[in-house]
Every structure is written in structure tokens, then in C-alpha cells.
Amino acid sequence: MQTAVQRPPAHIALPDAGPLAVALNDISISFAVPGRPVFKAVAPTSLHVREGEFVSIVGPTGCGKSTLLNATAGLLRPAGGTVTVFGERLEGLNAKAGYLFQQDALMPWKTALDNVAIALEVGGTRREEARAQAKEWLRKVGLARFVDRYPHELSGGQRKRVGLAQVLVRGPKILLMDEPFGPLDAQTRQIMGTLLLNLWAQDRKAVMFVTHDLEEAIALSDRVVIMSAGPEARIIGDFPIDLARPRDTADIRLDPRFHELYRDIWNQLKAEVVKTYGEETP
């Protein structure tokens, strides 16, 4: 906290500022694959995310990013190590977190509106109130005209945005987002990114953001961490992004510091990906 006050305008949460929202301490994760030795997806590794901190996770495909989010969400029990959420050891599901899954996770039997509204109703919000808020959120993600469509009547990007609204509408203190903007065009990505940043700025959420778009990661985050190629993936790089806030996600890409950071991260990442293909690429 003491360092935070010295810095430029608002909302800069640095690694060493504020209490811990999520702490993954030396967690390792394995999968039992029938008829094979246990697959050690994630080797003992640690990651700490402070309250109000926006952390992006990048890494080669299949390294273990989704697995890490699953463990933070409490959906996967790590084979070793502990997960703490706001100082408390996580048992069962992480009730403080909202999770936007990499796969489609909408309920196919509910319309877009109901899919978003249910997230509020679960918490006890009255039905009409929930629907009104849900409508507002669907408008924000650009789906005002699609509120009463069932998921199978939406395009891939539209479904993803419904999922986004579903998670954000609840206002969770911790946001776990697994390639949330993957199937969106560049322009929509920026709009959604801005939306997310505004929200984040309002109430000091902790965000763990998985993406393959390094520019996006840098533009949005306080920190970018790099995972090594699996199996036994670990976090091998941790880059604080010291760009001023608030940021314009489009303009910031013109900042020379942005390019410097990009190059540094990219070089490490590239080396890592090449490792995956080391013996395998044609």
C-alpha cells in the first residue's frame, strides 16, 4: 500500500501492494490417464495475486493455464501445495470467484437473458430485478437484440459474450477468465477489454486472465506471468507492467515502453513454445 500512493493516478496495484486475494503455494496438479503413468501437468509452482491486481497468464498451448484456473476455482484439487483465497485455505469451491470457462458453459435450456439472470437469482435477487440487470449487461456486451435467443441460436462470439455477462453481472471479487475474448474480432476485443478494465477499476477486483494475445495481456494487466511448456509446467517469467493507468487499450500500443515489454516477454515465450515443438515439428 505504501508504494501504491507514490505512483501516478489511480488504481495501480503492484505485486507487493495490498492483501493477497489468491495465493497458489507450490501447487502441483496431476491427471490420472488410464493405462499410463500419471500425467504431471503442473509441477510445484506458486502464484500470488493481490486484491485489485490484474494478472495475465500466457504460455504455450496445452501448458496448464486452464488447469491453474480450475485449481483456483476449486474445481480441481491440487495433488500438492495449497490454495488460499483472501488468507483462507480453499476447501471445495471458491465462492469469491467468477469463472469464464474456455469452453461453452451456458445452459442450453435457458435463453441468453435467463442465462445471465440466473447468476443473480442464485444469490437471491428478485426475478424482475435480475432480468433487468441481465438485460443491461447483455446490452453492454452488444447483444441487446439477442436476449431471447437460446445458446444454439447464437454465434460462437455471441455465446462467449453471454458467458462474459453471466460472470460479470455477479460482481465477484476474483475474476478467472480463460481466453474470454478468443472468438471475438479485434475491434470487439478492445471494446470488451475497456469494459472489463472499467469494471475492475471500480471495485478492486483481482483478475486472472488467460490469453494468447500478448498485446492484450500487456495492455490490460499489472503483471504478465509466463508458464513453461508442459508437462510439469511452471511459472517461469513474471513481468510487472509499469504502464500508467487509466489506459486506453488502443492508444497504449503506441507507447514505446509497451514495445519494450512486448519484446522482452515475447522472447521468453517464444523460446518456451519452440521447446514444445523441439523434437516434434516437421
Binding site: A73, A95, Y99, M107, P108, V122, G123, Y150, Q166
Partner: protein, 262 residues
């Protein structure tokens, strides 16, 4: 397909069946009847008898009793199947412990149980309902149990992350997801509910379609037996039609099967 064309085709099938039946039971082929009248009656006779039953009005009393039993057996049995199916699916320990007993119970010949139902429930409709319930229950139970376990893991994880409690999960995830499983079993169950009611009446009663069929059987009145079965079967269609209606309403969200022009 155009509904008129469909009706026409269905009518053709009925015509073919009735035609074969009429010929088999009245025309001698190679010195023998294909469907001897003593065992099969003839469609004309059966038709006449059905007509008489309705014309004289005597059928209504029996029909209403059997229908009441069927509907009760169907609802109680399905409700039980749904409740236990969900309960077992959500409590793996309960399921594992009771699994062999459920399967044993499912294999008991209900005909033998009839005296016990009569002992407990008397001779009224309830002993017949009980017999129907023991058939319907298992059919629905096994399907709902499996249906709940087939819920998409991602959708389930998402719902749990929203903080749904067990009741909310049931309402918003398990129930809608298991619906198509449930309805599939309900189509079978409708028939079995009726079978249960009729067999119950057959084994001991003073009225109902099963009673009529039993009476007719004892005196070789095959026409009466077939007339009774025909009325039964026709009524099942009415109930099933209701089930399908509810199914259509509850499953509006499903994608229509792609207009398969391949």
C-alpha cells in the same frame, strides 16, 4: 411431412394389418386358417363388439376405473422414479449401497406380489395402482438416474461456480438436463402403467377393463378379449399424446434436427 399424408399412411398401415387379420381368420389357406378364429376372432367381430360396448354404455364405468388406475400409477410411479433417480444420482454412496437391492426388486415378478398388495391396499383401485407403480417406477428411475449423471460437466461446473446450492442445481441444471431422458422413459412408462392396472384387475377385481378381459377369457370369448385390448391401446394413445404435448412445451430449447438434405 404433411399431416394429411401422414394420416393417410398411418391409415394404410392399419388397413394392411386389419386386412391380413381378416383374411387370416376367415380364408382357409392350405387347409388351415393362418389365424384361427378361435384364437384371434375377426376384425369385423371385434369392431362390432367395440361398437356395442360403447353403444350400450357399459364400457364407460370400466374404462373410467382402469383409466383412473393408469393415470395414478403413472404419476405416482414417475414421481417416485424421478425423486429416487435424482437422489441416487446425487448421492453416490446411497446409490452404491442400494444398487443390488434396487435391481433385485426390479426383477420380482409382479404377478406374484398381487396378493400382498391386496392385503395392504384392499381390493379397490389402490392395489392395482400399486402394481402399475412397481412397473413404472423402475423404468423411470433407471433413466432419470442415468440422465442426471449425463449432465455436461462444464455446464455443471459453471452453475456450481455461480454458487448454486443443491436445490438450485436441481432446478436449473439437473432437471432440465435429465428431461429428455425422463420423457424417453415416460413414453415406455405410459404403456406399462396401463399394463400394471390391467394385470392387477385381471388378478382380482370387480370392474375395469382387465376384469372384462378376464371374464371374456374364461369363456373363450376372444372377441371380447380383443375388443378390450383394442380399447386399452386406443386410450394409451390419448395419454401418450398428453405426455408428448408436455414434452414439446418443456423442451422448446432444443435445436431442431437440421433439415437433413444429405
Amino acid at each position: 411431412m404433411h399431416p394429411v399424408r401422414l394420416l393417410f399412411l398411418q391409415f394404410l398401415v392399419a388397413l394392411a394389418v386389419i386386412g391380413i387379420w381378416q383374411i387370416g381368420s376367415t380364408v382357409e389357406i392350405g387347409g388351415d386358417y393362418l389365424l384361427p378364429e378361435f384364437f384371434f376372432s375377426t376384425p369385423v367381430e371385434v369392431g362390432k363388439r367395440v361398437w356395442q360396448m360403447f353403444a350400450s354404455g357399459m364400457i364407460w364405468k370400466h374404462l373410467s376405473i382402469t383409466l383412473t388406475e393408469t393415470v395414478l400409477a403413472f404419476f405416482i410411479g414417475s414421481a417416485g422414479g424421478v425423486v429416487f433417480g435424482f437422489w441416487f444420482a446425487r448421492k453416490p454412496v446411497v446409490a452404491a449401497v442400494f444398487d443390488p437391492y434396487v435391481k433385485m426388486a426390479n426383477a420380482l415378478p409382479r404377478v406374484v406380489l398381487a396378493p400382498i398388495f391386496m392385503l395392504w391396499l384392499g381390493l379397490g383401485i389402490w392395489s392395482k395402482v400399486a402394481l402399475g407403480v412397481t412397473l413404472v417406477f423402475f423404468i423411470v428411475f433407471f433413466n432419470v438416474y442415468q440422465g442426471v449423471k449425463e449432465v455436461s460437466p462444464v455446464v455443471l461446473a459453471n452453475a456450481r461456480m455461480m454458487g448454486m446450492n443443491e436445490r438450485q442445481l436441481f432446478r436449473s441444471v439437473y432437471w432440465p438436463s435429465a428431461l429428455s431422458w425422463m420423457f424417453s422413459s415416460l413414453h415406455t412408462a405410459v404403456g406399462f402403467a396401463l399394463v400394471g392396472a390391467v394385470v392387477g384387475e385381471y388378478l382380482g377385481s370387480a370392474a375395469g377393463l382387465g376384469y372384462l378381459i378376464h371374464q371374456a377369457e374364461g369363456v373363450f370369448d376372444v372377441t371380447g378379449v380383443f375388443a378390450g385390448m383394442f380399447i386399452l391401446a386406443a386410450f394409451v394413445l390419448v395419454i401418450d399424446w398428453g405426455v408428448s404435448g408436455i414434452e414439446r412445451r418443456l423442451l422448446v430449447w432444443r435445436p431442431q434436427p437440421a433439415a437433413d438434405h444429405g
